[in-house]
Subunit: 328 residues, 2 copies
């Protein structure tokens, strides 16, 4: 693929205001490393670039430099979702795309379990009461035995299933193919079963990638299918949920709450009605970002880069048509 | 013990402002049931009372009616802790004391897991930021692999160990007798090992009963022994912690935070400095109180009452000298 005699040319594409990824030092010895942060700098870096490392999961600059991609073979995204990166010319090209699958699984699952327990134990109210120095006993919900529906049975969805099952929740999944025997789920149902499954769940967790198939999947109809006591948790991508429909469903009491780490518009606008809803938990797209995550992402990339250097198979290769790494 | 020919006399002692326990209807058919809520009403009810059900875990009225306890054989407390109930004459009498061991284990363990995850994921800050409509990304802690020290390896401590182990925490225990092979703990250490174990834990969870041996156990010295990054979680009893020392340790940064469901003085006084500490989580002595808990307590009592009626062995018999139900 590449000639080991000459140092490969690698372009690292970051967000305009982002620091360069930590831990890249080994790469600087093995490759000519260029940095880009917008269309102009990327257009300068692109000619001769054989490999790109994209650290900005929201990036939209690639199409503006695509015509100059004369040597590009491989793009590695240091994110689990590659939705923003994709465009038709890339999808239809021979350029291989890999992602950061695996890095965030565990911490996202911990985040999801935390929100489930917080809803059950009414902890958001406890914190608000504490701010007012108010002692107020309440009876709260048992978590054991509640039912979780994880939409998306990829590596993140599986880890969520494992952690929530481990403390006694009953976890079902939604995936493209239904299956009865799955090591992590009580059962995995296909998309046709979604309305029925939504009606049975106490917690519905969106752990799907953003693709044309999932965009807007959670709309007014989906919320009507949910139990009025159920909560939605979204750690996938914002546009999988129609935000206006979610706000309406929460206001109408069609669902009981939402834990949201991702939004159609990020940052969530300061005047958005979601901020003031007491049954909504908002975090700033950080569910998976453990201390040290940027270095862990670089280490994962360097591992794959070693595969590339030695002409071995790359891991985490994204099926560009579906938008994610297919299950094994 | 009692004569099945005649209906036994049972006195139910509640707090003055508490409702009568739900689910007692079956008892009304089997026994003469009297109700009491203070010293005066208890003195009226006591003569002839063979059995007492005490629903107020803070009660201090029993000594004031003790001289009238002419038939009393058994006291059942619908709480896990019986510290407030105990006094020398009761301890030295033949009256059997049973408690509600088991009822709260699971929900208290869920509460503890919730606070651990909330500290790691910085959720209290997320809620405060949400109140200000503020989007602020932070990197947060992985929970997997962190070390928990559970002080008290009774039924609540064990359940805490099970749930936290289940999601990948490393859980050690402190109990009267050290043991290497325990189904729920990596290891159980004895009290002599407490200072050393405090220095190794990321989370120290107090799940011990309040007894002369545990009162004031967590003092300035204990906090100095803890890691400055560690958090204390107390779901046992308030007086196990010297509150003033805890406040000082938090202010000095000797420990990183505290999750507190119980306090030396309850309700926690409105002007107490703990309320305003951002690294402190406060709840109103409710960690175990799931929806339906009062009815579950009555059901548990009725089960033990059936044992009594049929002269079978009672379960959850408290060792009055140590103040808790001995481990099997």
């Amino acid at each position: 693929m590449n000639n080991p005699q000459q140092r490969p040319v690698i372009t690292v594409l970051t967000a305009p205001d982002d620091a360069r990824p930590p831990g890249l030092e080994p790469l600087l010895e093995m490759a000519e490393v260029r940095f880009a942060w917008d269309v102009e700098s990327l257009r300068q870096a692109m000619p001769g670039t054989q490999m790109m490392m994209v650290t900005d999961f929201r990036t939209g600059v690639l199409p503006g430099a695509w015509e100059l991609a004369d040597e590009l073979k491989w793009i590695h995204a240091t994110s689990a979702g590659v939705d923003a990166l994709m465009f038709d010319e890339l999808i239809n090209s021979d350029v291989v795309v890999t992602n950061a699958q695996g890095i965030f699984d565990r911490t996202i699952a911990e985040y999801v379990l935390c929100t489930i327990l917080m809803f059950n134990k009414d902890f958001p109210n406890s914190i608000r009461l504490q701010l007012r120095h108010q002692w107020q006993h309440r009876d709260t919900e048992r978590t054991e035995g509640q039912r979780v529906l994880v939409v998306g049975a990829g590596s993140i969805g599986r880890q969520i299933a494992r952690l929530t099952s481990a403390i006694g929740l009953e976890v079902h999944g939604i995936a493209r193919r239904a299956r009865d025997s799955d090591p992590d789920f009580v059962a995995v149902h296909d998309n046709d079963a979604l309305p029925e499954q939504l009606g049975l769940a106490d917690f519905v967790v969106i752990a799907a990638p953003l693709t044309p198939a999932t965009e807007g999947m959670f709309d007014a109809q989906a919320f009507k299918a949910m139990k009025s006591s159920a909560r939605l948790i979204n750690i996938g991508r914002g546009p999988i949920v129609k935000t206006a429909d979610l706000v309406a469903a929460l206001q109408a009491g069609e669902i009981a709450g939402a834990g949201l780490d991702v939004f159609e518009e990020e940052p969530l606008p300061e005047t958005h009605p979601l901020w003031d809803m007491e049954n909504v938990l908002i975090t700033a797209h950080m569910a998976g970002d453990f201390i040290g995550w940027t270095r862990a992402l670089t280490e994962q990339f360097l591992e794959n880069f070693a595969n590339w250097q030695q002409a071995r198979e790359l891991f985490n290769v994204v099926d560009k048509a579906s938008g994610y790494v297919p299950g094994r």
